[in-house]
């Protein structure tokens, strides 16, 4: 006897949340060494029409025979008909994606997970702090802000990459600047042409003056970087509730059924990947947790 069906079957579960849908690659843009942005579109026009996502969410991308991988959307949520994913070729699935070409098909299901709190933070100053490919899940935030520039106060982007060649979306920086986003860039290793900062991302905090009463920090990148970003933000008396972090964990299902992405009391695929630091503080930084 089954008396514990707690919620009615959600639309996502029919015909099954694990079902991947074919999406065709419209174009591929090399961003940096072993990183490219794929713009893809569902084959099924109904899906294309119905699909919506929020900044910070992810899809499970699928290459039949190879497997699935969770990848954040890096494109404009206001244009969900074409979905952008910036992918680093790292594991089996992403390397298989690297062998796909324009016109090829991959599988997509989603969107999953939590989003950056874009409406909650209207009226505030935004301090976006990120390193490497961590900028990808934050680019939708930038697009959103650019579309609704008047709804947000000052917007800072603190971004670091290993070398100048590893910077993502460089061709868009000028436009972002023109629309009032203040860019602070740094690299770990400069080349001859680089005239900017050299050093780790959290150091960039020292170049700006934030108003802790109205600043929200959004950060994504290696956990060690996030650790220091939080430190710098808290040192500037930005409340924990206004520091948002995007976390990475192993995921097999993306829908809270496989157990792999557990981070303390949360499933990163469900309650995350975007968390307020206040929610995860007791667990963040606990070694091997």
């Amino acid at each position: 006897m089954l008396n514990t069906i707690l919620t009615p079957s959600s639309p996502a579960s029919a015909p099954g949340p694990m079902l991947s849908h074919p999406a065709r690659i419209l174009d591929i843009k090399e961003e940096a060494y072993a990183i490219a942005t794929y713009r893809i579109q569902f084959e099924d026009p109904a899906l294309r029409e119905a699909y919506r996502f929020k900044a910070g969410q992810f899809n499970m991308l699928y290459v039949p025979g190879i497997g699935e991988v969770p990848i954040s959307m890096s494109s404009d949520p206001a244009e969900p008909g074409v979905i952008g994913h910036t992918i680093r070729y790292a594991g089996n699935v992403t390397r298989a994606i690297s062998r796909l070409q324009v016109g090829d098909v991959m599988g997509v299901r989603g969107p999953y997970g939590s989003a950056w709190p874009l409406s909650r933070i209207e009226g505030e100053d935004l301090c976006i702090v990120t390193g490497g490919i961590g900028l990808a899940p934050l680019r939708p935030v930038i697009y959103h802000v650019l579309r609704h520039r008047q709804r947000y106060g000052r917007v800072y982007l603190l971004y670091g990459a290993r070398t100048p060649d590893d910077m993502l979306y460089e061709d868009e920086f000028e436009q972002w600047k023109q629309q009032g986003i203040k860019l602070f860039l740094t690299v770990d290793r400069a080349d001859a042409a680089w005239k900017g900062n050299v050093g780790v991302v959290p150091m960039l905090f020292y170049q700006l003056r934030l108003n802790p009463k109205k600043t929200t920090v959004l950060t994504c990148g290696p956990e060690i970087m996030i650790h220091f970003v939080i430190h710098e933000a808290i040192a500037r008396r930005i409340p924990k509730e206004r520091i948002y972090v995007s976390m990475e964990r192993n995921m097999k299902c993306g829908v809270g059924l496989c157990g792999h992405c557990q981070f303390g009391p949360t499933f990163v695929c469900k309650e995350g990947p975007v968390f307020s630091y206040a929610a995860i503080e007791p667990f963040f930084g606990v070694e091997e947790f």
Binding site: L26, G65, I66, A96, Q101, G103
Partner: protein
């Protein structure tokens, strides 16, 4: 939007060349490939079998795309041969307990080989053997190790398939117990007091021994995090002597690091 034409995949144009070599071993592992009758024709279709003495007379020269190497290195001649094979191979896979851990013949690594030779052979001067029987990876870079005595043909197929479809091969590195419980076998150590190496041994065999009421022999070698101390204590609690524990660890994969170290400690305790 019109999709541009795809370029022809290289594997469509040319089948990858597969070679199978063997050193000191029983041939059982390479026979696993021949034993995969249900898909053998597909394999022959998908790759060009360039060198496989067990299967065909034709012997094509290298370089080879995928090379399977069975057996341990136990003579000076082997050392030269494996280096040559390595040079001729793009992706070299060591298959079986001999190639990945030295095999059962690695038992000699604990003894004086010259003495064996004197006792066994009428003309010991014809014998040119190394003092040790050791895995391929002791001599050359190995791209993938497929464990087992013998290897599991489904794992072998999985590895070959992975390479054909452009995937880094991966086989489970967790314990035999995971496979044992998935197939529903009650733990033989808990329910019958049978000594079993399953909790320290890598999966891959589908836990066949416990399924027929025998403890695991450790054919697949140590798993990713073998706690041989804790298991040893439990084996003692089951009433095993140090000598018995030495024999249990020194089996088909006995010369693999974790098993060798554990058996050495128990050997010391015997004295």
């Amino acid at each position: 939007m019109k999709a541009p034409k795809r370029k022809i995949k290289p594997e469509a144009a040319k089948k990858p060349k597969l070679a199978v070599f063997k050193f000191t071993s029983c041939d059982g592992c390479q026979l696993s490939l021949l034993d995969a009758e249900d898909v053998l024709l597909d394999v022959v279709d998908a790759v060009e079998i360039a060198y496989f003495v067990e299967a065909r007379d034709r012997r094509l020269p290298g370089p080879y795309d995928v090379t399977l190497v069975e057996g341990s290195i136990s003579t000076p001649e082997h050392i030269e041969q494996i280096q040559e094979i390595r040079e001729q191979s793009k992706f070299l896979i060591a298959i079986g307990a001999c190639a990945t851990a030295g095999g059962i013949q690695a038992l000699r690594n604990w003894r004086d080989v010259d003495e064996f030779v004197r006792i066994v052979y009428a003309h010991p001067e014809y014998i040119d053997a190394l003092q040790t029987s050791t895995p391929i990876s002791d001599y050359v870079q190995v791209d993938f190790e497929l464990r087992g005595c013998p290897i599991n043909k489904y794992q072998l197929l999985d590895v070959v398939t992975s390479l054909l479809i452009g995937k880094q091969p991966r086989t489970p590195t967790y314990s035999v117990c995971m496979e044992c419980k998935r197939r529903g076998t009650p733990c033989v150590m808990v329910s019958r007091g049978i000594p079993c190496l399953g909790p320290v041994t890598q999966a891959g065999c589908n836990a066949i021994c416990p399924a027929v009421n025998r403890g695991c022999f450790g054919c697949y070698g140590p798993h990713e995090a073998p706690n041989t101390d804790a298991l040893g204590q439990h084996l003692e609690d089951l009433g095993m002597t140090s000598a018995e524990i030495v024999r249990l660890y020194r089996n088909f994969s006995g010369y693999a690091d974790a098993f060798r170290l554990a058996s050495d400690v128990y050997e010391e305790m015997m004295a």
